[in-house]
């Protein structure tokens, strides 16, 4: 089977004034892959991700996302991606059910689809007793799992996760990653930025950004071999130390 690439970036750059936030990055992400996008603070990973989501216009380069051109077909891209930001992205004053209905609604799902999705998610996340409680009453870990499920409620080709597990305990993080594996098995490509190196190990492939450039891109095992390290932590430190930019 030929690997199908859902994200292809070629020489993508973003320049703010004199500052080159993202410097000619090129990479491909295959369908269903869990692609880890690592880098120290200020390395440019969030900017790169925002470009791929259509939130920010690239200064130069080429890219296709879900088979659509990043410059010409942003509307098509928007329909085929899901996004979960660093900031927690559900409406706190809405119930779980209403949040699912809202996001299903703005992605144009039919009433029937929304009903089925809601039933499935409530069951899958074991939220039966809470479906009509306001989101603000839920613990953070639950909110994040729910936010992820809502981000893929319309079965997008790709889901972008921007540091999705900030501030939660390792157990919840592990559960969160089980949801990510589920999504990947259903053919959804997962593009994830993270600070946690244990999470980097869960990815199929990892890219590490330093000063706006991609310094390394491979499977976690190959990276460890290349950099002669025992863990991703070590790999990351070896690469990130080269950074000229501060935080």
């Amino acid at each position: 089977m030929i690997k199908q690439n859902v994200i292809i970036a070629e020489g993508l750059s973003k320049i703010f004034g004199n500052f080159v936030a993202v410097d000619h990055i090129s990479f491909e992400v295959a369908k269903g892959e869990i692609f880890g996008f690592l880098g120290a603070n200020g390395a440019g990973k969030t900017t790169a991700m925002r470009m791929l989501c259509g939130l920010s216009t690239p200064s130069s380069g080429k890219a296709t996302v879900a088979g659509f051109d990043l410059f010409k077909d942003t509307e098509q891209i928007k329909k085929s991606i899901g996004y979960m930001s660093q900031k927690f992205s559900l409406y706190e004053d809405l119930t779980i059910r209403e949040n699912i209905q809202f996001y299903g609604g703005i992605y144009g799902l039919s009433k029937k689809q929304i009903q089925d999705k809601t039933a499935y998610l409530v069951d899958h996340l074991h939220l039966q007793n809470y479906q009509n409680s306001l989101v603000k009453s839920l613990p953070l870990g639950w909110k994040q799992k729910l936010a992820f499920s809502v981000a893929i409620v319309h079965d997008p080709a790709i889901v972008f996760l921007d540091e999705p597990t900030g501030g939660v305990d390792p157990v919840t993080r592990r559960e969160f990653w089980e949801l990510i594996y589920d999504a990947s098995e259903r053919g959804i490509t997962v593009f994830v930025t993270t600070h946690y190196m244990d999470e980097a190990e869960y990815c199929n492939r990892v890219s590490i950004m330093v000063d706006g450039r991609i310094e390394a891109l491979d499977t976690p095992n190959n990276l460890k071999k290349t950099y002669n390290s025992l863990s991703m932590d070590e790999v990351f430190l070896k690469l990130a130390r080269k950074a000229a930019r501060g935080e």
Binding site: L55, K78, M84, Q86, K87, L94, I106
Partner: protein, 368 residues
């Protein structure tokens, strides 16, 4: 379209969940109308008055009697000498003193000339002015009654009539003003806060990544507040007709359409505010300082624009509320039709189109 309604529905949930704000929004017109209609009235009723009557004859007591039965004055204090005048004012016991000199009846009958002195507490010039006008009117009335009785050949009568507002009711100018104020507040401030809140919460990013078009997002956010504003217009009109006895002399349909137009103008302003700031506090401050203040001060309903210095008069033309206030007054109080307010209406439409254009342009599709 379905996406759009999903969004509008969500907005209603936000408003509905925040019961306190909803309560304030719907209660504000009621309290404002009550406050402006009853407490802040510039009519003067039952003002305390002192009498200094040196003649104590039939004519003088008749005049005192006439004054104190009127609803404007309450003769509460009787003085006996001029020495008591200052202390009474200093204590703030009375607003006006009626001084009747000696031989009042005699002078009237034989000299055909009576003198009366009114001393008013000028520390509140508006009240003093009103009181002296009322008192003079009563005295004139008294005088003409005497003249009639005695069938003398001449009589002086001044007939003052107030057009549109014969009783000079304050509510006639407050109702249109309150309407402008409330619409400005609910539409502009609440919309700007609602949009900025999404930015603060981080949900705006998610929405911008979604296939919803920015224009749709903006309209969907505004619709619930438009509906709320129209409820407020209805409340204000009902209260003014049934509680304050302010009539709607012109076409109700025209009045409501103009209300809707002004609501849209305010919404456009709210959108513009939300596009220049990312914090709810700033949005609220800009709304209060930038909208509330000019609306109260420069729209003409509290202070007459004609009396302002020229630069302020010119500035007042930029305040949408000024035009709306004039439209509502013309339709509601004067009972005139569109042919008298088309100019103001066109100006409002122009402002609305301009503001909407500007805010849509500023509302960034891409947050870069």
């Amino acid at each position: 379209m379905k996406q759009f309604f999903a969004f509008v529905k969500k907005e209603f949930f936000h408003i509905w969940r925040d019961k306190r704000t909803l309560f304030i929004l719907l209660g504000m017109p009621i309290t404002q109308i009550i406050i402006f209609g009853f407490a802040l009235t510039n009519e003067v009723k039952n003002s305390k008055m002192a009498i200094l009557d040196f003649s104590k004859d039939a004519a003088s007591s008749q005049l005192v009697q006439k004054m104190s039965v009127s609803k404007y004055f309450d003769a509460t204090t009787v003085l006996t000498s001029y020495q008591e005048v200052l202390p009474v004012f200093k204590k703030g016991k009375v607003k006006m003193i009626l001084v009747i000199p000696q031989h009042f009846a005699n002078d009237l009958q034989h000299g055909n000339q009576g003198h009366i002195q009114l001393i008013c507490d000028g520390s509140d010039p508006n009240v003093a002015n009103t009181l002296s006008t009322y008192a003079s009117a009563i005295i004139k009335d008294f005088q003409s009654a005497i003249v009639k009785e005695q069938k003398l050949p001449y009589r002086i009568e001044t007939d003052i009539r107030m057009m549109y507002n014969p009783e000079l009711k304050g509510a006639y100018s407050f109702v249109p003003g309150v309407m402008a104020l409330i619409l400005m507040l609910t539409s502009a401030m609440m919309t700007s806060i609602a949009i900025v809140k999404e930015k603060e919460m981080g949900t705006m990013e998610i929405i911008l990544v979604s296939p919803l078009r920015p224009f749709g997002v903006v309209i969907a956010k505004a619709i619930p507040y438009m509906i709320l504003s129209m409820v407020n217009v209805a409340t204000i009109l009902l209260l003014s007709v049934y509680v304050l006895d302010v009539p709607i002399r012109g076409s109700l349909l025209l009045l409501l359409s103009e209300g809707l137009l002004f609501t849209i103008t305010s919404l456009a302003l709210g959108l513009l505010i939300s596009s220049i700031t990312d914090s709810q506090q700033v949005a609220m401050l800009i709304s209060l300082m930038g909208l509330f203040l000019p609306t109260t001060v420069l729209s003409g309903y509290m202070f007459p624009i004609e009396n302002m210095p020229l630069p302020l008069q010119v500035m007042s033309n930029l305040v949408p509320a000024k035009w709306f206030y004039s439209i509502v007054k013309t339709i509601m109080i004067k009972g005139l039709g569109l042919s008298y307010v088309w100019k103001e209406t066109l100006i409002l439409i122009g402002m609305t189109v301009f503001l909407f254009g500007l805010s849509i342009k500023k509302f960034k599709t891409r947050l870069s």
